[in-house]
Amino acid sequence: MTHAVENPLHHPEVHQASLPGYVASFVITIGIMTAALWLTEKGSLSAQSLVGWTSLLALIAILIQAYWLLHMNWSKAQVWHTVAMVLFIPLFVVMIGLTMWMFHGLYQRTAITMPSGMRTAPAMHAATGGVATTTKEAAKAA
């Protein structure tokens, strides 16, 4: 980010563009999304495995997009963008994770009467090992 140039087209950020990179990102992420859809539609995985595998595929797709689309790299032109992104990711994950964890605890401790068929969030469902996802299942288990 510390390059002074006269012609804006010579700026390093303009020169980050790469057709092979964009095409590779497109092909690979479409492939990953197809795989995630196939896993979901196949329906042979447990809820816990499905959440785990599709989340892993999403993570890989995002890393690929971050590198080829958003140009997250350690070049002089992009280093501070990358640093900001790296520092941002924990905030993003903590915000979602902590909120869900707090409310999951709240629901359990306050023993709110749940309507029939009420379920937990997919990620929480996976975290609890797929135990008693619905009140019906809980009653059946009892």
Binding site: M1, T2, H3, A4, P8, L9, H11, E13, V14, H15, A17, S18, L19, G21, Y22, V23, S25, F26, T29, M33, T34, A36, L37, T40, E41, A47, L50, V51, T54, S55, L57, A58, A61, I62, Q65, L69, L70, H81, A84, M85, F88, L91, F92, M95, I96, T99, M100, F103, Y107, M114, G117, M118, R119, T120, A121, P122, A123, M124, H125, T135
Partner: protein
């Protein structure tokens, strides 16, 4: 650590930065970095919405199974994915043309990206219309509210992006590749490509994982 950083700054005598168009000041880099920080802030709004989705999924049982199956139509969302990613690829082509200084290439790439963005909006819009006609509306319960909010909030970004592309096509035709036009095209690249990243989260964590709620 260099000697200069160990030296104590003298108020009133130490030059911290030059005012105006100082040599070495990178206008493009500063503006794109500022916009990148804005996009990360926007992503925190998404974080809040995804957190609410995770929390309100607890109430998903208030929605019937058939309604949930209609909302989480993974096949339709997959078609949206292909259109949006193709639009992102088209804007990538525009950025490659910018690198080569080809005004025609940038215009074609931007126009194709904009049209595909509009196609994406039409597909999402028709999907929402289908749900509304079945009586599946955000007012039914908190869970549906957050699902619709996530989908519509992302669609609003696509509307903004499509409008921005239209404005850039006009500015480029009028001014050519001036500094202002170039940094706005780069910022649009950051904005548009970021929507693809957010869509991966929406597709996987809402549409696909929503099917197992």
């Amino acid at each position: 650590m260099s000697a200069s950083t160990n030296t104590r700054a003298q108020p009133g005598s130490t030059v911290l930065w030059e005012k105006g168009d100082a040599a070495g000041h990178d206008m493009l880099g500063t503006r794109t970095f500022g916009f990148w920080l804005y996009m990360l802030t926007d992503a925190m709004v998404y974080a809040a919405l995804f957190a609410a989705f995770g929390v309100l999924a607890h109430n998903a049982g208030l929605t019937s199974k058939s309604m949930l199956a209609s909302v989480f139509d993974a096949q339709a969302a997959y078609r949206d994915t292909i259109v949006l990613f193709t639009s992102v690829l088209a804007y990538g082509y525009a950025m490659v043309a910018l690198k080569k200084g080809s005004r025609g290439g940038v215009a074609i790439g931007t126009a194709v990206a904009m049209i595909l963005g509009l196609v994406f909006l039409a597909m999402v819009g028709s999907d929402l219309e289908r749900l509304f006609s079945q009586g599946i509306v955000p007012q039914l319960n908190g869970f549906l509210s957050i699902v619709f909010t996530l989908i519509i909030y992302h669609a609003l970004h696509i509307i903004v992006g499509a409008l921005w592309m239209l404005v850039m096509l006009m500015q480029m035709g009028r001014d050519g590749f001036t500094s202002n036009v170039v940094y706005r095209l780069i910022n649009l690249r950051i904005f548009w490509h970021f929507q693809a990243v957010i869509w991966v989260l929406l597709f996987v964590f809402v549409y696909l994982q929503g099917k197992i709620i």
